[in-house]
């Protein structure tokens, strides 16, 4: 990556909007549709201003019909368009599961390679905003179970800005999960920052003692935990998965091969989750290099509650991540 000489202050929300604006300008086949993406400006204001700039043909407000507008995205993709479908939150995507699973993910294989579906679906995921049990879950690991889908989990401004274009260029369906607590994240971004790689994980903090493997909404928390641990003399390596399917197994193994200890931090539930998959891959491929059992820190196995103290307790937090790392370091092999 080139070192930017001039930087711009921006937010995760603005970075996604900039990515959409660029895509709409670059490719006339691109259009955005979803609930309240137009007149309202997007439930989380991500698409604010796009209707005025691109008009109602390309910024399409839809009725509350998740299955129909996701399926329409699939059909439009088959018909030569490059749709971006926005689903307001991950829990609402369940209303469109038939289309995502039975059509988008399946058509290419089931048709013997004839029908690829170049569709991008964006949605908000995750907890931390006291939105309770029907707006707060982290189901990206669930979707990562499905062959035929690519699952992206941008956690940084660069990825918020840069993942959309390669997703649109992918000939197959791509789901982008935007953690709701990240929209207001601010920072700087090079004005010319653009497409990023969507195949590989990234080392966000180098360290030699333990690998914390995470993504999305728990990346920042993991980095904060690493700073605390650094004051205790522990050097944590933080891996941002960036893509949950296909998983960059090599990056995980490379890091764990050096640190010999791994903590997987995932806002999804533990049982049958993506953390289980990552843990399994480590033990299958690097068991004899480990100095301690792989540890997982996940969300409590309960629907996300409204009350703040309960929601906080349900989720991985900076302190619990730090504690999990200390625990793994104690378990000396």
């Amino acid at each position: 990556m080139t070192v930017p000489t001039v930087t711009e202050k921006t937010t995760y929300r603005d970075a996604i909007r900039a990515a959409m604006r660029e895509a709409l300008q670059r490719d006339e086949r691109v259009f955005l549709m979803g609930e309240d993406v137009g007149s309202y400006g997007g439930c989380f204001a991500v698409s604010k201003g796009l209707l005025a700039e691109f008009g109602p043909e390309r910024i399409r407000d839809t009725p509350l019909s998740e299955s129909a507008f996701v399926g329409a995205g699939i059909g439009a993709a088959l018909g030569g368009m490059r749709p971006i479908v926005e689903i307001m939150t991950v829990n609402f995507s369940l209303l469109a599961l038939d289309q995502i699973m039975n059509n988008a993910a399946t058509l290419l294989h089931m048709s013997g390679g004839q029908l690829n579906v170049p569709l991008v679906i964006r949605m908000t995921t995750g907890a931390g905003r006291q939105l309770a049990a029907q707006h707060s879950h982290s189901l990206e690991g669930w979707f990562a179970h499905i062959p035929g889908l690519r699952i992206l989990v941008p956690a940084t401004l660069e990825d918020a800005r840069g993942m959309l274009w390669p997703a649109l260029e992918d000939p197959d369906p791509v789901l982008i999960f935007e953690h709701g607590t990240l929209y207001n994240t601010s920072g700087t971004l090079a004005p010319d920052s653009g497409a990023v790689d969507i195949d590989r994980a990234a080392v966000r903090r180098a360290g030699s003692d333990v690998s914390v493997i995470t993504y999305g909404g728990t990346l920042t928390k993991s980095l904060e935990a690493a700073e605390i641990l650094a004051t205790e003399g522990v050097e944590v390596e933080v891996i941002d998965l960036r893509t949950l399917r296909p998983l960059d197994t090599n990056a995980i193994l490379e890091s764990v091969g050096r640190t010999r200890r791994a903590v997987v931090v995932d806002e999804g539930w533990r049982s049958g989750g993506i953390s289980a998959e990552i843990s399994a891959r480590i033990t299958e491929r690097a068991f004899y290099e480990l100095d301690a059992p792989v540890s997982r820190l996940c969300t409590a196995e309960a629907p996300i509650p409204y009350a703040k103290h309960l929601e906080d307790a349900a989720l991985p937090q900076v302190e619990t991540i730090a504690a999990a790392v200390r625990e793994v370091l104690r378990a000396d092999g």
Binding site: G75, A77, N102
Partner: protein
């Protein structure tokens, strides 16, 4: 032979192709050459054949798991359909789909959807792509009356009407959603009336009369192409055979089936031709011979087809895994 006479014989030929193809499929199923679910269209041939007459190669077709007839009438070669049923790589879906998932991108035949109602949103999207690219095309979407109970039906009808999209919704009302009679699943059994509530033209058509289906579909597609938005046809028809090869048909009487068989769309058309312009004594035999030859050829093609190497199992999971 006049143009009309030739066209009548063409319609008859198309319906016979479907009827005989499926009868052969039953034999091949018993001989275990075809497996999985096999849903027969026998009795409903006039619907697919009639509607297809209104479409051109630039239009799109979305169908259900009971789609052998639609594929044949759309021009998907019998060879590639039969090879698909045999699970061979020469099949129209590479042997991955089977009876329920016939695809042919070159003929804009988009399946083959085995989730009831699941094809409707996709059809709306195909039509949206045409509308946004200002192409004067139509997308015909076939589904059974059972789909009317699905949320995807209502969502899709609303969206198509709201956005004035070029979709021809073809509801094949054969009175039974598998074994559940229409009267046992819908509070309002007048399906065209339901469709009209979405502010789109909706007509009930005798689905056992291929000419009536063709005329209605022609009118609708003309209107759709000239910007008239979605249209809805309720095609009243009947399935002569069981729902699938596993169905013991406990839900309807033999008398009812026999009564409908008196309205066999193939015999009805032959009767019409006889009444109107006469029917060459050998005309039917000649068509039957053509059809048998086509099906024999398709079966031989499928028999001699190849099995996809197991090493290719994950090919086409993504475009990169080719």
């Amino acid at each position: 032979m006049t143009h009309d006479e030739a066209h009548d014989l063409h319609l008859l030929h198309e319906m016979l192709r479907i009827r005989r193809f499926e009868e052969r499929c039953v034999e091949l199923y018993s001989a275990t050459k075809i497996r999985g679910f096999l849903h027969l269209y026998i009795g409903e041939e006039a619907v697919a054949v009639g509607v297809m007459q209104a479409l051109g190669p630039e239009d799109a077709v979305v169908a259900t798991y009971r789609e052998h007839g639609h594929a044949l009438a759309r021009g998907v070669p019998a060879r590639s359909i039969m090879a698909e049923m045999f699970g061979k790589v020469e099949g129209c879906s590479h042997g991955r789909g089977g009876s329920m998932h016939l695809f042919d991108a070159s003929r804009r035949f988009y399946g083959g959807n085995a989730i009831v109602g699941g094809g409707l949103p996709v059809a709306v999207g195909l039509a949206l792509a045409d509308a946004m690219q200002q192409r004067p095309r139509a997308t015909a979407c076939f589904f059974g009356e059972g789909a009317v109970a699905e949320g995807e039906f209502h969502e899709s009808m609303n969206l198509a009407a709201l956005w004035n999209l070029p979709v021809l919704f073809c509801c094949e009302n054969n009175l039974y959603a598998m074994g559940t009679a229409l009267t046992r699943s819908e509070s309002e059994t007048d399906i065209a009336l339901k469709a009209a509530s979405f502010e789109m033209p909706a007509w009930s058509v005798d689905g056992m009369d291929v000419g009536a289906v063709e005329r209605a579909a022609g009118r609708a597609v003309d209107a759709i192409r000239s910007g008239g938005g979605p249209h809805f046809l309720e095609l009243r028809t009947y399935r002569f055979r069981a729902h699938s090869m596993y169905d013991p048909e406990l839900y309807r009487t033999k008398d009812e089936v026999e009564l409908w068989k008196e309205r066999d769309p193939i015999e009805a058309l032959i009767g019409e031709i006889r009444d109107r312009q006469g029917f060459e004594p050998n005309a039917r035999d000649d068509l039957e011979a053509l059809v048998v030859a086509e099906i024999d050829d398709a079966v031989a093609f499928a028999e001699s087809g190849t099995e996809e190497p197991v090493a290719d199992l994950t090919r086409f999971v993504t475009s990169r895994s080719t």
